[in-house]
Amino acid sequence: MKSFFKNIILGQFNYLAAVALILIGLYAVTYKRSFLKKIIGLTIFQTAIILFFISIGYKVGASAPVIPHGKGHEFQNFLFQNPLPQVLMLTAIVVGVAVTGLALALLEKIYDEYGSIEENEILEQLRKDDA
């Protein structure tokens, strides 16, 4: 058991941090009533996944994947970080921005329409309209 913890705590600390952030984000999305807090929770959740991906491609003691000019030939790959997760996460960041932008625009419209951004208040008003 001890080796399991040593391996987990010391070796995979980044992943643990990512999991912690995921839990916080999901807690906010599921439990918090105000839509704004849900959107913030969503962004936390997405940043946690970005942390997770980046720590996958991390090499200890390696520098950024920019190969100095003309040195392409004598090259050792352990000197440079793995570029692939970073590219993927660039996409995920941009997608996160787009979704949050739309969510805020929707939130503004809902606020104009219902005067509140608390989910339960809005649902009450919807139920009243239905009746």
Partner: protein, 246 residues
């Protein structure tokens, strides 16, 4: 979502967390260079990017050439967000209704006048040097967008709107994606697969690796235009609640 007691939510999340941690235990150790993750594509990119594309910054190489489709789709996501925000906040009100008080002092105005051009110049530098140093289309677009927002903040939204009307800016965004798309289309017409920059060699008449790096540059220009205009648009629409569409 639904009225569920806080304890139950925490309990569920803890179970989910424990489930994730048990998965992490099996993952290859963090940070050691011989992880399976690096063997497949990672090392190939590091070895070949500089040779094939003359772009030391491997991330830009992968971003704009190896996995160019992801970036193209990403820029469409940005464009889509711009469309969506315009559609959602679309209201046929007129700008006069939007009252706004601009009390930035004289010193502030002059200093921003001096500050904005170098910011935009730096953005272009970031774009041009995307190959050699960390940078590229997205970063340049964000810096350009922030310079526009700075102007709106300091000089007031109404004045910025006359200089950069949203009608024009959305066309700029579409034009950005069009650049990216048309480069891919030209490669397609030249006979290669979509987004295969080596086909541009006959047009640009330079070595194959140089054509690829030029291809990356054009693509980065398209991306930065779109990102700049969509960030600016989002800011404007969120501030004026859409009363700007006349």
């Amino acid at each position: 979502m639904f009225k569920v007691s806080r304890l139950l939510v925490i309990l569920l999340l803890l179970i989910f967390g424990f489930f994730l941690v048990s998965g992490i235990g099996e993952l290859p150790l963090f940070g050691n260079p011989s992880n399976p993750v690096h063997k497949q594509a990672g090392n190939y990119y590091l070895e070949h990017a500089e040779i094939e594309m003359e772009s030391p910054n491997v991330v830009t190489a992968v971003l704009a050439d190896y996995r160019a489709v992801d970036t193209l789709l990403e820029t469409t996501v940005v464009l889509l967000a711009g469309f969506a925000v315009m559609l959602v906040l679309f209201s046929t009100g007129n700008i006069s209704k939007f009252e706004e008080v601009v009390n930035s002092s004289y010193i502030l105005k002059i200093s921003t006048k001096l500050l904005i051009p170098p910011v935009q110049l730096f953005a272009l530098y970031v774009l041009a040097h995307g190959h050699h140093s960390p940078g590229g289309g997205f970063q340049c677009g964000v810096i350009l967008g922030s310079s526009l927002i700075l102007q709106a903040l300091v000089f007031g939204v109404k004045e910025t709107l006359n200089k950069y009307p949203p009608k024009r800016i959305i066309n700029v965004a579409i034009f950005g994606v069009l650049i990216f798309y048309s480069i891919g289309l030209i490669c397609f017409i030249q006979g290669g697969n979509f987004l295969d920059y080596s086909q541009l060699q006959s047009i640009l008449s330079t070595t194959e690796s140089h054509t690829r790096s030029l291809g990356i540059l054009f693509v980065e220009i398209g991306v930065s235009l779109t990102v700049m205009s969509v960030i600016y648009l989002m800011y404007i629409f969120l501030i004026t609640k859409g009363e700007v569409n006349n």
